[in-house]
């Protein structure tokens, strides 16, 4: 027993058990279903939650295919660990911080600790026709994938123990507050009228900008840029991108929180934007590098999905095409020019695709949003309301600045306390073997 007491994961596990115990006492509750629930809406939201969950393993393969053979497991592991870790964080206190009763517009209180009071009755403030727990678990999947997106920036060089602590802190100190500002009742950006249908600011700008901070604090991989081997398994990346596209129908379509016409509209524009962006990237590659590439078309499609995310409940199909075209142009420039010029090593372009794509999507929502699609939304600049563009701009700046500064501080503190980077030797050997004592592939047998 004594030898375990010295290991930090032991204490981590002890805290996890303690919180669970407290929650068991605090959150003891009666759960009774009520007739107000709409079965169609609930069916779609639960389906959507499952679709969004699938996006994290999909992302694992999208990213995993792009790293070197010796690091494939580390990427898959980080995604799976986040799925487990953030789920528990969300249930114990994350959901309460994000969506619980508002405290001065900046954070939710801990009143819903351990899902206390989050039962099977609908919560009309968020979704009037589905059980509150359906909304909670749908949102849990967003809380999971957001920190997972960041790992594209520090892939192949972060110490696993630090990664776990970082993800937990980032979810608590960055994701939960920003989620509250934009989506929580009483959140100050929501009160401003900022439009973010499915997470352009909360998920993509937030994770994308955090990714940039990670790339800067961790520094370049050994050998970057010219001595890094190319993607070890592009077919994995294509599989991942395809499953991301599939899961995104739940991400955006599910964000209608019901199964009617708004979900349909979000579903349709999501598909259109992904297609327009994939096509645009393929053509840009063809023009600039004389060949259209597989990595290019899947990167473009994912960028299109990123950009349409905040706009998906507010724009029509033609607006979606413009958003798709625009995102590939901007992300292409970020990845091919900006990254090279400034020389940061955003290993898998988490900032280039999610940060830049998210910003374009949030701003483009302020251009193409129309009340003809969603009367609960607003008109954008092209529909006679330039003020909306400024509101979107403010939400982008606030989210980006907060995410960058907080991520930077968290990493600096962790670096001082426990070190963020794997040792040079470990990085050279590969994270699979050094961090997990496993190998993704065998050479013999």
């Amino acid at each position: 027993m004594g030898k375990y007491l010295k290991k930090s994961p032991f204490w981590f596990f002890a805290v996890f058990l303690l919180f669970t115990l407290i929650a068991t006492v605090v959150a003891a509750q009666e759960i009774a279903p009520t007739p107000k629930v709409d079965t169609g809406d609930t069916a779609w939201l639960l389906t959507s939650a499952a679709l969004v969950l699938l996006m994290t393993p999909a992302l694992a393969f999208f990213y995993g295919g792009l790293v070197r053979k010796k690091n494939i497991l580390s990427v898959l592991m980080q995604c799976f660990m986040i799925t487990c870790l953030i789920t528990i964080q969300w249930v114990l206190f994350g959901y309460s911080l994000a969506f619980g009763p508002d405290v001065k517009g900046v954070i939710g209180s801990l009143a819903w600790f351990g899902l206390k009071g989050v039962g099977l009755d609908p919560n009309p403030a968020y979704a009037a026709t589905v059980p509150h727990q359906a909304f909670m678990i749908f949102q849990a999947m967003f809380a999971i994938i957001t920190p997972a997106l960041i790992l594209g920036a520090f892939a192949e060089r972060m110490k696993f123990s630090t990664f776990c602590i970082f993800s937990l802190l980032w979810a608590t100190l960055v994701y939960d507050p920003v989620c509250h500002w934009v989506w929580g009742v009483g959140g100050f950006l929501r009160a401003d009228g900022a439009l973010d249908f499915a997470g352009g600011t909360v998920v993509h700008i937030n994770a994308g900008v955090a990714a940039l901070a990670c790339a800067l604090v961790l520094g370049k991989r050994k050998g970057y840029p010219d001595k890094i081997s190319p993607p070890h398994n592009l077919p994995f990346a294509v599989l991942g991108a395809g499953l991301l596209w599939f899961g995104w129908f739940g991400f955006n379509g599910g964000s209608a929180l019901g199964s009617g016409s708004l979900a349909t509209s979000a579903f349709v524009v999501t598909h259109i934007a992904a297609a327009a962006a994939g096509l645009t990237w393929a053509l840009l590659d063809w023009i600039i590098n004389s060949r259209s590439t597989v990595l290019g078309i899947i990167t473009g499609s994912v960028a299109g999905l990123v950009a349409i995310t905040p706009a998906s409940g507010f724009v029509n199909p033609i607006g979606a095409i413009w958003i798709g075209i625009g995102v590939s142009v901007f992300c292409y420039m970020a990845v091919a020019i900006l990254k090279v010029k400034f020389g940061y090593d955003d290993s898998l372009d988490a900032f280039g695709v999610h940060g830049i794509g998210g910003m374009w999507g949030a701003l483009a929502t302020g251009l193409w949003a129309t009340k003809a699609v969603n009367s609960a939304g607003a008109n954008g600049l092209f529909y006679g309301n330039p003020a909306q563009f400024l509101i979107q701009f403010k939400a982008v700046i606030v989210t980006a600045v907060y995410s960058f500064v907080m991520t930077f501080v968290i990493l600096k503190v962790l670096n001082a306390v426990m070190g963020v980077r794997a040792s040079e030797q470990d990085e050279r050997i590969g994270l699979d073997l050094t961090q997990h004592r496993e190998a993704g592939y065998t050479v013999l047998e």
């Binding site: 840029p225 010219d226 001595k227 190319p230 993607p231 590659d285 600039i288 590098n289 060949r291 590439t293 990595l295 290019g296 990167t299 292409y332 990845v335 091919a336 090279v340 372009d349």
Partner: protein, 113 residues
């Protein structure tokens, strides 16, 4: 005894194996390798980043033969692997001092067959 190493285009492998078979040369080891010659490989591009030091996929054959099979082995390889384009590959021939069949312990020429 000679030890023959040939580097050839991957798509010529079947032809070369058939030619070897026709000449009753059965002992062969094949590996998939990367390589380049004077013409170098084709540069790969990932998200607009051009890869340095490009290599092409090649196949390496290793064949141990008795002296009287050397000529027919070279014939089998050259006729099977030649396309007339750059990158057809090379054949290297080394002296082979010894060969032992693990199962029986036979040595030298009889062990190769």
């Amino acid at each position: 005894m000679k030890y023959i190493i040939a580097i050839i285009q991957p798509d010529r492998l079947d032809e070369v194996l058939t030619n070897l078979e026709e000449r009753e040369i059965h002992l062969v080891t094949v590996t998939s390798v990367m390589g380049r010659g004077r013409q170098k490989g084709i540069a790969e591009v990932y998200r607009s980043h051009k890869e340095a030091g490009s290599l092409l996929k090649k196949v390496k054959l290793e064949i141990a033969v008795n002296e009287d099979f050397v000529k027919s082995t070279i014939e089998a390889i050259t006729s099977g692997a030649r396309t007339g384009h750059v990158g057809d590959g090379k054949i290297f021939i080394l002296d082979l001092p010894e060969c032992i069949r693990i199962r029986t312990g036979e040595k030298g020429g009889p062990a190769i067959g």
